[in-house]
């Protein structure tokens, strides 16, 4: 899918969003104050774009994701998806929204119901939304698994049989089953080993190209975000302190906190392209002679 022309309205627009958690004290659980988890965030995301949200624990990035997903209630502010404020949606309209925006969570061991087979896991959403019937769900599930690099032989097995990387693929297949336009990845590769992380990042890049997906990629890992994001948003204490196109942001590093974040990351030296073994490069392109 080609990128949309610049004059189209953004897929996601967040205006002065605030999400507060009440602090309750005393026997009667009186609200005495609030934790301002998200404290006035503005953000836009175009269709097909990947926006990386970085920050340390407690900065509000996960609460932001959960609010967009309607798992938390915003205090004030607007969340516009294709121009519609989703914060107040109900019923059929809310259901339609669920098809547009989906999520992949961090912990592949906690996000899949251990009592459901892979077939159940990836088709549950489709059945609920009328996109599949009990008769045709298996065929659709096979295609979904293929899309994420898994074989059909996994369908009748249970999550505990699989590795972290395979489970994340199942979680991604499930998220894609409703045909979303935006995928929120909340630390989706943080719990994975390095080699598996690379596989999943490649998969996400492939899916982005094939399906024109937009990603809201939440992570604390500066190396990952530099690799995958078109734009980076830096959060601290519930607010956005800096944002911009990735290359520009990394070159300028205007805000002291951004500089601190980047300086703190221990990044090993990157070997330049010409010092990489040519046969290694051959291996990833496809079998070649000589």
């Amino acid at each position: 899918m080609p990128p949309p022309p610049p004059w189209r309205r953004p897929l996601l627009e967040i205006r002065d969003l605030r999400t507060y958690y009440p602090i309750r004290r005393g026997v009667f659980a009186r609200t005495v104050g609030a934790v301002r988890a998200v404290d006035g965030v503005n953000l836009t995301l175009q269709a097909g774009e990947t926006v990386g949200i970085v920050g340390e624990s407690g900065c509000g990035k996960t609460t932001l994701a959960r609010t967009i997903l309607r798992l938390e209630r915003p205090h004030t502010g607007q969340i516009l998806v294709d121009g519609v404020d989703i914060a107040t949606l109900r019923g059929a309209a809310l259901k339609a929204y669920r098809r547009k925006v989906q999520v992949v969570f961090q912990d592949p061991f906690a996000s899949l119901n251990p009592r459901h087979t892979v077939l159940d896991l990836v088709t549950e959403g489709m059945l609920a939304h009328g996109l599949a019937t009990p008769a045709n769900r298996r065929g659709q599930a096979v295609r979904l698994l293929e899309d994420v690099g898994l074989g059909a032989d996994l369908l009748d097995r249970y999550p505990h049989a699989f590795s972290g990387g395979q489970r994340q693929r199942i979680a991604i297949a499930r998220a894609l089953s409703l045909g979303p336009q935006l995928l929120i990845c909340d630390e989706a590769v943080s719990a994975l080993d390095l080699s598996v992380q690379a596989q999943i990042l490649n998969l996400l890049a492939d899916l982005r190209e094939r399906r024109g997906l937009a990603y809201l990629f939440i992570t604390h890992d500066m190396a990952v975000v530099q690799h995958i994001a078109d734009r980076i948003v830096v959060m601290q204490q519930g607010r956005v302190v800096e944002e911009g196109p990735t290359e520009e942001l990394l070159a300028q590093l205007r805000h002291p906190y951004t500089r601190e974040l980047l300086a703190a990351v221990p990044l090993p030296p990157v070997r330049s392209a010409d010092s990489i073994d040519t046969r290694h490069a051959v291996c990833t392109e496809g079998a070649q002679g000589g």
Binding site: E56, A198, N202, E247, A264
Partner: protein, 350 residues
């Protein structure tokens, strides 16, 4: 060459589980000299924690057992030491910094008391002196207002501060050997930088640090020498800079090539196809051959063995054994392929 502080010779550690016997550490030999920071790096299940924790014998035994091999601290056997004698060494000559600082600290004791307990384990001191030393250590690990903080409970402190307490507890007796198991994994990136800087500053020239991690960035920051583990074996050892500059083993090279960064923007990462083999049933021959682009028939026949391949550099790979001083031989500019095998596998399906 002085004798090593820590010498591990052909160590085999097994875990007897319901599913079968797991050969977690399979014939590992390594040395750590005073003044060195040896980084032990590998992905989950490679055996690095089992290896490190077998030194102070902090593995649950059963189900773990040391099947064979020796562990020597300054030439003295540790693995055959009686439990009471080993207890005398733990804390005094061997200090351990654990990963999950929140679970390692007792929630029922104030942090000052926990440091005091660590001191009292090996030394008798009057109360006032004990308190003074506790506050001194709190200051040394960078905790502000030490006298007040000593009375804090662990849950009142941030992750970074908790880890500083752990470091203090590990170092109170100036141990010769410090083992740090993923000391910064659970910490934020800026806190991680501070804790690593602290560990670097407290590392003495007479002591040795065995640092276990899966994070190549931490290795780069901290290690003087690196040992890469895969499937219970060491597959490569080298001085730190050399490992990053001229990685020899296909697994090390693949691991480094899989690192995302600003330089890999817009490109596919060179992911390693497949998965780690099951530890219940290690395959014969080279354990990496199922995922290796350069695997040959002989890789299935026998284990290559960890052999020298350069200055202070050792590698477990037949290809590398064929060209020990090779370095960049494999990407010869002239394209000559007389002795070079074809890559036999491509693609990154699961």
């Amino acid at each position: 060459m002085s004798s090593p502080l820590l010498a591990i010779r052909d160590l085999h550690v097994r875990f007897d589980t319901e599913a079968g016997s797991v050969h977690a550490v399979d014939g590992v030999s390594l040395e750590l000299h005073r003044g060195e920071v040896l980084g032990l790096v590998g992905e989950s299940g490679c055996g690095k924690s089992a290896l490190a924790m077998s030194v102070p014998r902090l593995l649950p035994m059963p189900p773990a057992r040391i099947e064979a091999g020796g562990i020597m601290l300054d030439g003295r056997r540790l693995d055959t030491l009686a439990p009471e004698a080993l207890q005398g060494l733990r804390g005094r000559r061997i200090g351990v910094i654990f990963q999950e600082q929140q679970t390692a600290l007792s929630p029922l004791h104030r942090v000052g008391d926990q440091i005091a307990e660590a001191i009292r384990l090996h030394r008798r001191l009057p109360r006032a002196e004990l308190r003074r030393q506790v506050e001194e250590w709190l200051g040394r690990v960078g905790i502000p207002e030490p006298a007040a903080r000593a009375r804090s409970w662990p849950h009142e402190l941030s992750g970074g501060m908790q880890q500083r307490i752990m470091i203090a507890m590990a170092l109170v007796h100036d141990p010769d050997l410090v083992i740090a198991d993923e000391p910064t994994t659970a910490l934020d990136v800026t806190t991680q930088a501070q804790v690593l800087a602290l560990m670097r500053s407290l590392h003495r020239r007479q002591s040795g640090l065995l640092l276990i991690t899966h994070d190549m960035g931490v290795i780069w920051e901290m290690a003087t020498r690196v040992a890469v583990m895969y499937a219970g074996q060491i597959v490569e050892t080298a001085p730190c800079k050399q490992l990053f500059g001229q990685p020899r083993h296909p697994y090390t090279r693949a691991l480094l090539a899989a690192l995302p960064s600003a330089a890999t923007r817009g490109k596919r990462l060179q992911a390693i196809p497949g998965q780690v083999p099951s530890p219940l049933d290690w395959p014969g021959g080279c354990r990496f051959r199922g995922r290796c682009a350069y695997a040959q028939p002989r890789c299935a026949e026998s284990d290559p063995g960890l052999l020298p391949c350069g200055d202070a550099h050792a590698c477990r790979c037949f290809l590398v054994h064929d060209a020990p001083e090779g370095g960049a031989t494999v990407s010869d500019a002239s394209g000559s392929s007389a002795a070079l095998p074809q890559p036999t596998k491509c693609g990154d399906k699961v």
